[in-house]
Structure formats: C-alpha cells, structure tokens
Symmetry: C2
Subunit: 154 residues, 2 copies
Amino acid sequence: MSSVPSRAKLNGVIRDSLRELGLQLALLNFQVSNRLKLNPGDLNCLDIIGRHGPLSPSTLTRLSGMHPATMTGVLDRLEKAGWINRERDPNDRRAVLVSAVKGRGAEVLKLYSGMNTSVAAISASYSEAELAVLADFLQRCKDAAEEAIDELPD
Amino acid sequence: MSSVPSRAKLNGVIRDSLRELGLQLALLNFQVSNRLKLNPGDLNCLDIIGRHGPLSPSTLTRLSGMHPATMTGVLDRLEKAGWINRERDPNDRRAVLVSAVKGRGAEVLKLYSGMNTSVAAISASYSEAELAVLADFLQRCKDAAEEAIDELPD
DNA sequence: CCTTGATGGTACGGAACTCATATTATATTC
DNA sequence: GAATATAATATGAGTTCCGTACCATCAAGG
C-alpha cells in the first residue's frame, strides 16, 4: 500500500480538525464575551489591544477588518466599561492611542482558565520535541490565516 | 539546567499560539462572512448545520449557545438567502428540521481555499507520524474547548 | 377521551448595534 | 499658506438581538 493515500487522508483530517477547532474556539469566545457583557467583536478588539499594546483606532480598524465608524462604537463601549483608555497621541494630535487597562486582564483570563488548564493537561502528554513541533505548527497556521485574510477577493 | 523550565515555557508558547490562532481564525471567519453577506454568527450556525446534518432549531440553539429568538432570525436570514431549508419533523409536528442546501457549500469552501492550501503546504513539511500527532492534538483541543464551554460559570 | 402541564418554534417590540456619510481637527504637500 | 489628505468621531437609517408573549403540539394522569 502506498503511503500517499495515508498522507492525503491525514491532510484532510488536519484540515477538518483545524476547522472544527476554530468553530469551537469561536463558540467559546462567544460564551466568554457574553459573560463579560461584551460582543464577540468587542472581545476580539480587546484581545488585539491587550496583545499589540497601545495603538490607534485606525490600526485597530486595519487589524480587525472592521468599519471605522463601527470601531468608534466598540471603543466607546470598551472605554465606558473600563476595559481601555483613550489618550491623544502627543506626536499627532489627530490620532488617539488606545491601551488596555492593567489589572483587568485577569477577569478575562479567569474565564479561559478551564480551557487553559485542559490544554496544559494535554500538553503534559507530549515530549518536549513534540511540543516544539506543535508550537511551530500552530504558529505557522496563525500566519497562514493572516495571509489568507489579506488575499481574500474584494 | 533542568528540563522543567523548558517544558513550562513550551506550555506557555502552546497556550499563546493557540489563542492567537483562535483570534486569527475568528478574523478570517469575520471576513469570510462579510464576503457572503452573512453575520459571523450566521456563518457559524451554517457551519454547524452543514456538519451535524439536519437538526432542529432547539438543538442548534443548544450547540451555538444563542438565544432561541435570535436563532429564528438567523434561520430566517439563512433561509431567505437560500443557504438552508426548513421542514416539519414528521415525528413531532411542533419540531422543525433544518438542513443545509446541497451545492452551496462550494461557495463557502472557495473563500477558505487560500487557508486550506496553505495548511496543506504546511502539512507537507511534516512526517506522517508528526501529522498523526498534530491531528490528535487538534482533536483533543477541540474537545477541551467544548468542555470548557460547558463548565463556564452561570 | 380530556384536562393539565411541558415543549418547540415563532411573533412582537424596544434596546442595542452596524455602517455609509458628513463633520471637525490636525497634518502634509506644493 | 492654500489645497489636499488623514484621524477620529457624530449622525441617522437600516439591521440585529433578546425578553416576553403566544400558538401549536406532545405527554401523563385521571
């Protein structure tokens, strides 16, 4: 028996697993955002802000793919609920710098703790070499998703 | 040097990579849903319907975590745009069976083709044994996300 | 049967959200 | 320093969300 069918089959399994994982993660995000009284999109933006440090609404618009006017509403809600701060950019006084409020990340993390401990438990069953492979794969898939977004039609 | 710090560090890398991957996949879904003139939530539901075959709005509500009244709106839009069919359940005439319209899956898949070919290219760089490990890991993470949703507070 | 209570799905209406466009303030270019 | 471009927000019309009410159907007990 050739090894090609087996490899092709594995490719399909990987593709489907990734898609199903993406769906479940989306549902998890949805539930978490509900608990925080936020929209899924708002939580995504908060995540980006927390990770990419202080940034302007326009870069946030580019990173998230949202409409600029929508972003104003997102930031209004996040600011009102005390998740972020808006301050003027001293170098460009048209611009605004958005930053995540320190110390509130724990509230979000707490809701992901179940998922995180499960992932830690799963990780424990792999060797360090395997973990390195897994981490690299995930990283490359993330990059692939980023590229895929850029290359969408329209 | 002990191997513990290295392993702990890898755990952290895995966790972060998974989270970033989840975010990028969410952004990809958002863009894809925009192209299809659907909401992200509508696309998620369509995905569930396509995968879990004909099912009732109430099970769909349970699987997606949405409010029942919201689900009616989702299904109205999906049906109006020709993505799904609603038919009465012959065994329980209160119930409705929702099924995905055959032949329109390609329109969705086409928008994910960039991502899929990238993932195939990434997969090509791993041995079959490694692919098996990856597939298993993804599957277990999916299950973990599913459990994590069930065990959220409230 | 025929009540009684539970369940599946949807209708309704007010609140919240999205987004095209207009507006204001500042920066850049010639 | 006038013209143009850019950053962010205001505005308002259209859409979506969801608590509630409602109707149809089923299941159990008398």
